[in-house]
């Protein structure tokens, strides 16, 4: 029997569609409203809330917790002060990406790591003789993401501490009687927060959020709206923009952080004081310039898009639903140069956009690639410009 999250009793009342998917063994709403786009505008123009509870959550605690994570995670967790969080990744020995997640530093010796896939065995196997315990607390907490330009105002009504949280900061606070951790994090690329709440308190906290947010036009959103927002925000998704090296059969299905555009995470990689899994391979990749890919944004030439469809006697579609397949990219001579891993029409950018993997020599911002689309059952190529990620990056996100 499929499990439900601690918020589910209320969320199931809010769903008008009855559309749920299975996410990490839990029911997760695809959309509550008949229109995922309406939910999306909650994120971009007022506020929305999303149930992130199915994420795996691990406490990493002990005298050596920092040393442990510094050796597991590719991003230097030592630069993360208590009260801060980091978007992070971990790699295998070959420097290929295993997964990404967010690490929250609660104190010198206490971290919480979130992940999309189970990692307890992997983490524990790497503990060795260090003084660290890794505890899976996935089921003990609910996580409620509250995202959008009005999210700060709404949450500050419940907990004034929230107003002062910096981007990727977090704090222990109270919502009503419940002790929660509120972090300024999320997967939408907008101003937004996540509330980590003990499962038993999840419903009262959700109810308080709904009560505070409803006058501001806040609405629940499901996976479809989240996936739209995250493409605009250039946030990569496991099993869509990359697959975990752990489960890949060939290197075609593997990528390194550098190839994924996450080179910035490797700052300090030359520091001999911090050996970490994959470091050697990654240093070699960087030194040798052997990266096979660059990860970039693409923005479709609107005239070309219209031309291709109009010529075929069709009304050019502008569908915000992300494609669930890859689209090939070509150079001017028809040679394959990469592929788009995510693609959609962006309502706020008013363009078709994507996240793409291209050969490094085609990754220059402003250069043109040809995107393959199927029009009237025929392959057509439309021009697209290579652009820097994120494609949508409002000031309020970090302000």
């Amino acid at each position: 029997m499929i499990r439900t999250t601690p918020f589910h009793p209320r969320l199931s009342e809010l769903s008008t569609t009855g559309l749920w998917s299975h996410w990490a063994g839990y029911l997760s709403a695809q959309k509550y409203d008949m229109s995922a786009k309406h939910e999306y505008f909650g994120i971009r123009n007022s506020a929305g809330f999303f149930d992130s509870s199915p994420l795996y959550k691990y406490w990493v605690r002990g005298r050596d917790a920092e040393r442990f994570l510094a050796g597991v995670l590719a991003r230097d967790v030592r630069t993360c002060r208590p009260g801060r969080a980091q978007y992070t990744i971990w790699c295998d020995d070959a420097g290929f990406l295993l997964e990404d997640g967010v690490v929250f530093r609660h104190s010198d010796n206490e971290f919480m790591l979130t992940a999309a896939e189970p990692n307890l065995g992997y983490l524990r196997d790497l503990v060795g003789r260090l003084d660290v315990e890794v505890v899976d607390v996935s089921q003990e907490y609910g996580v409620l993401a509250v995202q959008g330009p009005r999210s700060r105002e709404i949450l500050a009504r419940l907990s004034p501490d929230v107003a002062a949280l910096p981007y990727f900061g977090h704090a222990q606070t109270k919502v009503g009687a419940a002790s929660v951790t509120v972090s300024r994090t999320g997967f939408t690329g907008d101003l937004g927060y996540e509330i980590l709440v003990p499962a038993a308190d999840a419903l009262p906290v959700l109810d308080a959020v709904i009560e505070a947010g409803t006058p501001y036009g806040m609405r629940p959103f499901g996976e479809q709206a989240l996936l739209m927002a995250r493409i605009e925000a250039g946030l990569l998704l496991v099993d869509v923009d990359f697959s975990s090296s752990r489960y890949a059969w060939t290197d075609h299905d593997r990528v390194t952080p550098v190839e994924l555009g996450l080179r910035w995470m490797l700052r300090g990689i030359d520091d001999p004081e911090r050996p970490f899994v994959g470091r050697k391979a990654l240093r070699a990749e960087i030194a040798g310039g052997t990266s096979r890919w660059a990860t970039v944004g693409i923005v479709v030439d609107w005239q070309d898009w219209d031309r291709v469809w109009t010529r075929a006697g069709l009304v050019p579609p502008k569908d915000e639903t992300p494609l669930d397949y890859e689209s090939m990219l070509y150079d001017a001579d028809g040679g394959r140069v990469g592929y788009a891993t995510s693609f959609m029409y962006s309502p706020v950018l008013q363009r078709h956009i994507g996240i793409a993997r291209v050969r490094p020599d085609h990754g220059a911002v402003g250069s043109t690639v040809g995107l393959e689309v199927t029009v009237n059952h025929q392959y057509e190529t439309v021009a697209a410009q290579v652009a820097r990620l994120p494609l949508f990056n409002p000031e309020r996100k970090t302000a």
């Binding site: 008949m34 786009k37 505008f41 007022s46 036009g217 915000e320 029409y345």
Partner: protein
Amino acid sequence: MSPTSPTRTAKSREYDAIVIGGGHNGLVNAAYLAKAGLSVLVVERRHLVGGAAITEELYPGFQFTTFSYALSLLRPDIIHELDLVRHGFMPILMPSSFAPMENGDYLLLGPDRDENLKEIMRHSAHDADAMDRYEHDVERVCQLVKPLFDRVPPNLFGKSPEDLADLAWLRSHLGDAPAKVLHDAVRMLTGSAADFLDDYFESDILKGYMASSGIIGTKVGPMSQGSGLVLLYHSLGEHDGQFGAWAFHKGGNGGFTQVLARAAQAFGVEILLESEVDHVVTRDGRAVGVVLGDGTELTSRTVVSAVDPRRTFLELVEPRELPTDLVENINRFRFQGTSAKVNFALDGAPRYPALGDRTDQYRGFTNIGPSMEYLERAFDDAKYGWYSQRPYLDCAVQSMVDPDMAPPGKHVMSCFVQYAPYHLRGSDWDTEREKFGDTVQATLESFFPGFGDLVLHREVVTPLDIERVVGLSEGNIFAGEFFAPQMYFFRPAPGWSQYRTPIDGYYQCGSGTHPGGCVMGAPGKLASGQILADLRQE
């Protein structure tokens, strides 16, 4: 003050082009001219740009879209060519349409096709698949007509090779259309909305809802010949590629025109506020500048009128300088505004008894026009010089889709009202304003019991107010009726549909030119193409 923010005195005495009127068409036109490298001044009479597309805080915390209130017809190419997204362009989906009925039932359409069909079946099983057929047929017509929308109309009377080529294009474009599509187009362009809709639907509520788009802004009832054209015109709107879909721009249509102004300024356009152009200066049949109300004279090689045809031809220049037949045509050009607005600040969302405490029905338009007969009877009053005693209302609780329009938990509601004829028999609008507002409010009260208790503030906008404030003659929201003899090759007058005027260097780009009114920008853009082409010739 940044070099491009609007000013109250012109920085120079001389420009390449002066655009009269800072409505959205004037701004679009100016932006394209500046983008092409011209120095451009927009002269606007009021303290803000936008014309009929403005948003004002008329009651503390409540943003009113005093006049126009939703966006659909804006030409998508303008969004990109003027880089509007960078300046804040943001059309928000309006995901539902709500049509209350007099018996307390309703039709509520949303974003899910199958759910809509089930909802339609509640009223008529027959009409469910009719809806699909109707939409498909109309979209085919839209596909055919859209290229005409986005091009300068051919000059029917010209004999130059370009004119003949334009006409040949038109002939082949229409000639290539499937017979059914062309015939549907003609049926819509010449017939009544009622006749067209009767061919598909049987349910009153659905027909009333659909027919409403056939009367907006125009002195016709759904049963009048010519309402089909208005229906088609509105169907040609598109939001994110979807014909007939409407959006609410962030901050209202005034939010949109502020975006336009920023984009225009980014191209170098200078905007002069609180300055009225008194007249256009001509020398030897050529426009050479304008004189402002305070006597200031500004010179320019190009003068563009972004106001309506009556002002363009009869007020800003001397009619005596124009060909007599043009003057005659403009004199008989029909304005006869027939629309009004009543806007509300509300303490909460209205309650519709059959839906209990639900409010999701207000996330789009609320259409008070439950049958074609209701609409036609509302028109009857107007035929004889009075406003509808039971008016048609197109309402939108805009704070539902854009919560920033009102304080938390409160709402603004925009109500577009028909019919409200500019010429009242035996009274005048200054006398009738509040009585008219009461009539509208009573109609709302009959559908939403307790509505009156929610009202914090009410703004009544009569056709006379539209004329006085925006300058649209007789308050016609489209700067001239959408009648076949006033459209396309004939807008605003035969022989003068290509944005030029008989005065060299004097152009027109307001909603009185092709394609016509609505917040669409096409006149402004198409006119800029003509101006730039002429400048290259000179």
